[in-house]
């Protein structure tokens, strides 16, 4: 958690890297849930028939 450099200035590179990491994790989770919701729908359709 060192968004400020040794002289206290804002470290934009660290900020962007952190944003990118979080965005990647969020994207992976969202993809996983899209797949899961698709499978739930298919499973429910299967149960209904």
């Amino acid at each position: 958690m060192s968004e400020h450099g040794p002289e206290g200035e804002f470290d934009e590179a660290a900020y962007r890297a952190q944003q990118r990491r979080n965005a990647n994790v969020t994207a992976l989770i969202l993809i996983a849930f899209v797949v899961l919701f698709f499978l739930i729908t298919i499973a429910k359709l299967g149960l209904a028939t």
């Binding site: 958690m1 968004e3 206290g8 900020y15 952190q18 990491r21 994790v25 739930i40 149960l47």
Partner: protein, 304 residues
């Protein structure tokens, strides 16, 4: 000037690992296991995808409870050595992010449970989250040394949820599984409280050893261990809900539990003696719950 620029600069976004830590992953593993056992012990088939989704919903619900608990207790956590390193007291995360994360996770877990299972499982999951946050965390924990006794219900709901997700109702065996965790919670937590009581005292939490004293707590550990043992054996005898596999396992494990609780109840610890009996009881209590829940499932699958 440089200092004022630094204070105006945006803070780093929350790290996903800190958000994950908010969900209390170790507690979540126990909740997932007991929920899974409730599901596997229930009569009737379950579609693997729907079963997995229901368990995931239980895990997310437990994570939401943990996050909201840490949001509310951030000030208290900062005072205790055991919890001072958590993301909020350590300053790696702000409280508003934790609140939004917890509420969002709770709502999402309920939606997922409703999609995967039924309204009853969803309702019990909602009750368990609300009970943990409002009844245990906000109401009981800062007010009474009985916080663990009543609050234990919050952690006991998962087998009921797992069962309800499969059957759409609540069976007597599911209620007995709920009762097992409910009665197990006091001796488990008081064994822990005995060796971290200075932490609780510092934070002003009225845990039993802090309020009623060590002697009384030690007696109550043994008392609740005996009540828990009776509750653990009851599904086999006299209720006849399980077979001998569970019955013998419950009897043997409960006997060991009570045997470990006896020295805890009888002894007067010396300064710096390491509290070995209390630590042994705490460690065994975790194994006890895992083995008994596994025994219910094995019993149901092998003996029907």
């Amino acid at each position: 000037m440089a200092q004022s620029q630094a204070s105006l600069a945006p803070a780093l976004p929350a790290d996903w690992r800190d958000l994950f830590a908010l969900t209390k992953p170790r507690v979540m593993s126990l909740v997932v296991f007991t929920g899974l056992c409730g599901m596997l012990a229930a009569p009737g088939p379950v579609h693997p995808v729907l079963g997995f989704s229901a368990i995931l919903a239980i895990a997310l619900g437990a994570g939401a409870s943990g996050a909201l608990n840490q949001w509310y207790e951030a000030d208290i956590d900062a005072l205790m050595k055991r919890t001072a390193g958590r993301p909020l007291p350590a300053g790696r995360l702000d409280r508003q992010t934790a609140l939004h994360f917890g509420v969002g996770l709770a709502v999402f877990s309920l939606l997922l449970m409703y999609m995967a299972a039924n309204w009853l499982a969803t309702a019990i999951l909602a009750v368990s989250i609300l009970f943990y946050v409002f009844v245990y965390t906000i109401w009981l924990k800062p007010r009474t040394p009985q916080n663990i006794v009543i609050g234990g219900a919050a952690g006991a709901f998962p087998p009921l949820i797992g069962w309800a997700a499969v059957t759409g109702d609540i069976g007597l065996l599911a209620v007995m599984m709920f009762l097992l965790t409910f009665l197990w919670t006091p001796p488990h937590f008081w064994a822990l409280a005995l060796f971290v009581q200075s932490d609780y005292a510092k934070a002003g939490i009225p845990m039993m050893p802090v309020v009623a004293g060590e002697r009384s707590t030690r007696r109550q550990v043994l008392f609740y261990s005996l009540v828990m043992a009776a509750g653990a054996i009851a599904p086999w005898w006299p209720l006849g809900l399980t077979g001998a596999i569970y019955g013998v396992t419950a009897a043997v494990m409960s006997a060991i539990f009570c045997a470990l609780a006896v020295p805890v109840a009888r002894r007067t610890p010396l300064a710096g003696d390491g509290m070995k009996p209390e630590r042994q009881l705490f460690a065994f209590s975790l194994l006890y719950l895992f083995i008994l829940y596994a025994a219910v499932v094995i019993d149901r699958w092998m003996l029907g």
